[in-house]
Subunit: 404 residues, 2 copies
Amino acid sequence: MKSALSFLVAARECEIGELEQLALSSELVSLVGRLIHALQKERGISNVYLGSQGKRFAEQRAVQALECDELALHVRRRFDELYSGPHSVRNGSRLFGRIAAVLHGLDELAGLRERIGAQLLPAVESTAAFVRLISGLLAVVFEAADSANDPQISRALVAMFNFMQGKEFAGQERALGAMVFVGGTVADCEQRWQQLIDMQERCFQVFADFADPTALEAWRQQQHAPKFAELQRLRHLGRSLRGGAPIEAQLGQAWYDGCTERIDAMRIVEDTLAANLRALCERRIEQTRAELRDQQAILSTLSRPTSPHAPAPIGPQLERSILVMLQEQSSRLQAMSDELDTVRAALNERKVIERAKGLLMAARRLSEDAAYKLLREAAMNQNRRLVDVAERIIEARDLLGPKS
Amino acid sequence: MKSALSFLVAARECEIGELEQLALSSELVSLVGRLIHALQKERGISNVYLGSQGKRFAEQRAVQALECDELALHVRRRFDELYSGPHSVRNGSRLFGRIAAVLHGLDELAGLRERIGAQLLPAVESTAAFVRLISGLLAVVFEAADSANDPQISRALVAMFNFMQGKEFAGQERALGAMVFVGGTVADCEQRWQQLIDMQERCFQVFADFADPTALEAWRQQQHAPKFAELQRLRHLGRSLRGGAPIEAQLGQAWYDGCTERIDAMRIVEDTLAANLRALCERRIEQTRAELRDQQAILSTLSRPTSPHAPAPIGPQLERSILVMLQEQSSRLQAMSDELDTVRAALNERKVIERAKGLLMAARRLSEDAAYKLLREAAMNQNRRLVDVAERIIEARDLLGPKS
């Protein structure tokens, strides 16, 4: 029969297993981040290409597609390595479901590019297709963050996810601006632009709440770069354009270049986050291994018989040290659980919005995009945060709707 | 390179793995429930024994100790089977930490019984020792419920946990009454008694919110049994006793028998819950296996080459069916996640109370019991629910305390 102490050892072994799993997830997240970055670039290039009736960025588009394909190959290989049996991955049923959706999106990329090359679809639709694919990749990152049960690593993953999500809104802003500055007409342009700015701010705020100091410092320095001020001016100008009017060509170029520079700089912060996350995982694994070694040493002292015929007696001192370990373990569990709850609250906001969106889709038979748009408009009209509107919708449904 | 479809299959395989794990946890929970029941009985018997200066229940005590030891042996064997490597159990680091604490408590049981037999400790302390051990066992059940990520099974486990917790408060009420009716003095007796009644009601309310209809019906019928009315009368009488006054001996016997009958009847509801949980797990596993077979059939159609030299082409119909599966998977994931959030909210209440207790213990250097007592008193004085007081304490600490 196993002793209390051997279960303490087992708990520690499981903790190491969970941390190793998190280290793998973290590597996956940073690889996915690189693919997202490349796809964001291809989205922006494609918009300029479509907006200029194929006159500009044809070559860049081909180069960028190659880069995306290469990174996608890496990501797919990593996905393949993840699965080694039904118990191999925590949260596997959700994670693999998300991965299946991403792979389907990647399979459709070639067809999408063909239609873009032949200028068979408007920039708005091309943007939407890239947004869907990237949002699927972000959902993979979200599952990785949501399944972490080490508070420190969970903090780092929440910071990372929110930074990536904020960067994606910045990418969507670049694409929107690219359409506007080449003279295209975009429905609800001013409102959508403002929403994208608000959502970036919200994401970067959560990132700032959870990020480590080095990444935060790198981010703060970027915010004070002089080029960012110029981008603010273009933002202001772009939002007031009504579309269809002739615009100086170099403004569009300046917008695209300025945004790209900003997003590429974000990529550096993301790399810092990824490097810190990797180091944190290694540190936590090393630390937990050291604690495990201590416990195993006590365990082997206990099981070593003092004479060949009698089991080792547990002296009062050893008994006390087991008791101390149990108490430490218990308060550690409690502290970890408390901290994890705090970190998870930041992830819940996304869940609330997704849920409200789902309710709207079902109740009004809307597409995902349309449901999201409706939510955003309600938030604008009521001058509330998106998540507050989402919460009200869920509450109303819980009060009014049938119990499911 | 694996396809989107093979990841859908992997997701389903993981889901089956997770469900099988839940089936094992559910069996463990129901076995732990039997041990808790036996320990509750031993606690009550020990109190009568101590209260009567060893004159009554000496024989029952010996019989009951044997029953407890036998069940503890079963539970320990099941604990031992759980661990087969660091990836074998979801949430292993927390679960095994809780198990270690329980094993330590079981190891101390023999010493506790000796002191009770020699009447070396007051009934209040004996009760407290049993309460600690049982609360450790309930924490194991809680971890099992908290790690479930199938909403239906999670509902059933939340109902089960709350029922077991409510039954334990009923057991504590029996012990308290047993002390009072043998003429013992109990500090804050009336207040503690009322708290135990309130907490039972709260737990059984959550149970009623999440239980399946058959268990709920079994429970409702018990509530209308005529003997329950008699127990209410004794409750009322007991709470007004000031202690130390001479009481008719048969009142104490009637109280003990009435409570025991009620608690034994609860055990039947618990058995119904356990049987339904087992059936639910089997049904969910069978259902998911059938879905997996469908997906595997499509996958093997795809990988069967039409000629030895060419891979199978994906026809438009098959392409559509993969798309439909992806969409189904995605909305299933969303629906499961939403429902799970609702169920988990019921578990959070416990977490909030535990956290507030921890804060009080640290801030005022209190023992766990003293911190809990302080919380209960504050709830009484402010005429609020325990969880509301706990929430205020956490909020105040978040506002006032240093950021950890």
